[in-house]
Symmetry: C2
Subunit: 194 residues, 2 copies
């Protein structure tokens, strides 16, 4: 396990500093609703456009039916590691509101709710890895979502595992330092950063 | 000032528990790049699809040119309180990548980066209020963004102010308790909440 990254000038809250997206999750850990309660509570209190709260979450725990449906929808490169995590969650946006109007901010708002989930889960000693590589149409059907709902991302949740359990190629990737564009590339206007 | 809300069963990290979106910001406070450094650093380290980091931020401080451009783009209902905040930030997504392909996750990823910004800012004693009510096309033009970029939200940033400075109608709103759908409405699958 490694979460090495570039040194940076400004200090971060521990949950933000320590968050990263592993592939090696504990293969024996058992999670339940209670352990994930605070993380879902954090998602619940995220801000959204007009307080529309256009998000929902379909949770599977390793071995149950929902978990199996999510695993089956994953791209093979994700399946190989994610199928061992203690929990898999489908992150769902209500892209159309009750009156049939598109909710243009639903996907943005879902991103915020998942970020809040992740930061609370990290605070609670769990790790989260989000994925875009899955068959959203198939999964929406399997989970019996309505036509107004879309699975935007899937996330694996659990405690850190042993990187040696991963296929060799992913072991190397697991140890790779995290990188980002410099602050000066992403902030413009009156704020200036090195 | 009030951030009353429903009691909830599961405890949250302080920055998530205390976060809310005020309209009364300090009208005299002066912020600069250094004070916002950790919040932008938090946004920088957010996760994104394939580590594409499809976000950028255009910052204005009260009285400067960028600030004026953002204020001018706001819906009047937002202008009346947001023009007094110490900083206004345009949150920008790169909706098309360098090869001209749509980046379907850009808006979701920006939502996460703004959530990370907000949680770090809250940790640092600041408050953040995001807005969707503004002229995105006009603002993009004024800020000379490229055609691949879109301002998705604008946010006011600063310390708490005096609600008595707000128009009467907004004073009432400022004191209203925060509410959300119950956890049981937003979590499905194998997890069960009351």
């Amino acid at each position: 396990m490694s979460h090495d990254h570039d040194p940076h000038e400004f200090s971060l809250a521990p949950a933000l500093e320590n968050r990263w997206s592993p592939r090696a999750f504990s293969r024996t850990e058992v999670l339940d609703s209670t352990v994930l309660g605070s993380a879902f509570e954090a998602a619940r209190w995220a801000p959204s456009s007009g307080n529309s709260q256009p998000w929902s979450f379909v949770v599977g725990f390793r071995g149950d039916e929902t978990f199996g449906k999510i695993v089956a929808s994953l791209a093979s490169g994700n399946q190989v590691w994610a199928e061992h995590a203690a929990a898999l969650v489908a992150n769902v946006a209500a892209v159309v509101d009750a009156e049939g109007n598109p909710q243009s901010h639903a996907i943005y708002d879902l991103g915020q709710a998942v970020a809040h989930f992740t930061i609370q889960a990290t605070t609670d000693g769990l790790m989260v890895h989000q994925m875009g590589g899955f068959d959203a149409q198939m999964l929406g059907k399997e989970l019996m979502l309505s036509s107004s709902q879309r699975v935007v991302t899937v996330m694996a949740v659990g405690s850190a595992g042993n990187p040696a359990d991963l296929p060799e190629k992913l072991q190397e990737r697991e140890a790779r330092p995290r990188t980002r564009k410099p602050l000066s590339d992403i902030v413009e206007g009156s704020a200036r950063y090195a």
